[in-house]
Amino acid sequence: MSYFSILYLLAFLPLVIIIYNILPRKIRPIILLIASFIFYFIYSKWLVIYLLLSILSIYLAGLLMKHVNDRRDKALNEEIEDKKKIKTKYKNINKLILLVTIIFNVAFLFYFKYLNFFQSIFHLKNKIIKHLAPIGISFYTLEALSYLFDIYHEKYKAEKNLLKIMLYLSFFPTIVEGPITRYNEVSDTIYAGDKITYQGFCYGAQRILYGLFKKMIIADRLNIFVKIVFQDYVRFSGPIVFLGAIFYTILLYMEFSGTMDIVIGSAEIFNIKIPENFRQPFFSKNIAEFWSRWHITLGLWFKEYIFYPVSLSRVVRKITTFVKKVFNNRVSSLLMGAIALFVVWSLNGLWHGAGYQFIFYGYYHFTLILLGNIFEPTIINFCHKLKINRENIFIKIIRIVKTWFFIFIGELFFNASSLKAGMQMLKRIFTHFTFHSFNKYVLTLGLDIKDYIIMAIALIVIFIISILKEKNVEVRDSLSKKNIVLRWACFYLLIFSIIIFGAYGDGYAPVEPIYADF
C-alpha cells in the first residue's frame, strides 16, 4: 500500500482518522499503533515478526541501560571514594548492552540487504535467492539505533511503556521512507491523542495534496523518459543522456519530497509533528549545503552518531594532535573532518543500496565536500582580492547552477543500473555530444509538447512556493488569511489539476516508491 495509492488515501487514512476521532483520548494512540501494524502487515506480511523482535530488543536494551544507570547513581551516592572508577565500571556494562543490541539489529539489516552483495563480491558460489526485505528496514534501523545511542548517552530517560516504543518505531506514516525521527522529538505529540481539529485536518490535507501534485504531475510524467534513457543509453546522444540525468534528479526530488509531504501531512492531521526532510535543496550554493537541505534527517543522523563521535575519537585525536604540531590548527581540523567524512560517506553510500554505484555515489559526494572545504578559504580570498561580492545575486545564481551540475552527475550514477553503466553514460555525454535528432527524441520519449508545458507550469508553481518558504513565509498560513472565494478557488485548482493533469492511466507508468527499497 503505497502512500500514493487510492487504498491509502481514500480508504486506510480516512478510516484511521474516523476511528481515532470517535474513541476516547486514552485509546487513540493504541489505534495508531494497531493501524501501523496493519499497514506494515499489508506491505511485508509475516516479516512483521522481524519488526516485533527488533522493537523488543530495543525496548529491553533501553530499560537495561536505564537500570544500570540507576544502580550507578545509587553507588555514587553511597561510595565517596573514586567516583571515576564507579562511572567507568557501569559505563562498560552499558557499552556491552549497546554493542550486543546494535549487532543484533544490524545483523538483520545485513541479512536482508547486503548478503547477496557481499556474496557476489567474494564470489561465493552457493548464492541464496534474493529475499524480500521488510519494508523501510534501512530507515527503521537508523531510527532504532538513534534511540539506543541517546539512552546510552543519557540524553533522555528510557521509555518504560512497551506500547509507546512500538508506536514510535512503527508509526505508519514514517515507517516506509522516514523522515528518521528522534524519540524526544516526537514523543510529546505522538502519545497525546489530541482530538483532530478542523485546522489540523485542513493543513494536513493541503500538505498531502501538494505532495500528490508534485508526484503525479511531474514525477510520474517524467518516468517513461527517464526509464528509456537509463535502460537504452547507448541509443542516445550526449545531450539526451544528460537531459535524462536532469529529469531523473527532478523526478527523484518530486517523488521523495512529495512522499514526505504526504507523510508529514498525514501525521499533521493527528496533530503529530514530524521533522522536515527537505529545505529547498536546489537553492544550495555548494554540495555541503545541499546535504544540509536534502534528506535532512539522514544527514543529521550521520552527523550526530558518526561524524562527531569519529572525529573526536581517541584514535583520530592522536593523529591530529601530531599533525597540529607539524602544521597548524586548520590543517589538523581539516584532517580530522576528512577522516570522519570518509567514514560517514562510506556508510552513507552503502546505506543507499548494496551496489558499487551507490558506494561510488557516496565517495563522489565525499570528494566534492572535501574539495569544497579545502579550497573554500582560497576562493574567498580570491574573491576578496578581485572585489567580487559573493552574495551578489548573479554570483549566487552561478554558484547554484554549478551545484546543480554536480548533483545531476551524482544522481546519474545513483540511478544507473551498475557502476559500469554509469561510467559509460557519463562518458557518452561528452563523446557523443551532438544535437542531431535531439528534437525528435525529446518529443517522442513519452512526452509531447503539451506535457512539457504542463510540467513547466507546475515547476513554476513549486518554485514560487519554494521561494516563499525560503523567505520563511508559511504559505498555508497566509492562504488561510485570504477570503474564502480565493482560498477555495486555490484548493479546487489544486485538486482538479491533480485529477486532470496527473500522469496516470493509458500511456503513463507511475514511479515506484524509490526510497522504500533502501
Binding site: 548517552h153 552527523k303 590548527n329 589538523s332 581540523s333 581539516l334
Partner: protein, 74 residues
C-alpha cells in the same frame, strides 16, 4: 571570555559573532569549523567536550558556548 573571543576572531566568520543567536542553525558554523573550534576550546580551557554536548543549542551563540565551558569546568 576574552580567550573565547580571541578564538572566534581567528575563525573568520561572516557574521558578528558577539550578537548572533543562531550560529549553528544559521549555518555560520559548519561542522568542520565546529571541529576546529572544539579542539581550540579543549586546549585553551583544558576541558573535554563529550560528543553528546555537540548540539545546536550549545553552540548557537557565544553566550551559550561560554555557559558550556563553565559547566564543563565546574
Amino acid at each position: 571570555m576574552e580567550k573565547l573571543i580571541d578564538i572566534f576572531n581567528e575563525l573568520n566568520l561572516d557574521v558578528d559573532f558577539m550578537t548572533c543567536e543562531n550560529l549553528v542553525d544559521g549555518r555560520y558554523l559548519d561542522s568542520l569549523t565546529i571541529l576546529s573550534l572544539i579542539t581550540e576550546l579543549e586546549d585553551t580551557f583544558d576541558i573535554e567536550i563529550p560528543t553528546v554536548e555537540i548540539i545546536p543549542a550549545n553552540f548557537n551563540s557565544i553566550k551559550n558556548i561560554w555557559a558550556l565551558i563553565t559547566r564543563l569546568k565546574g
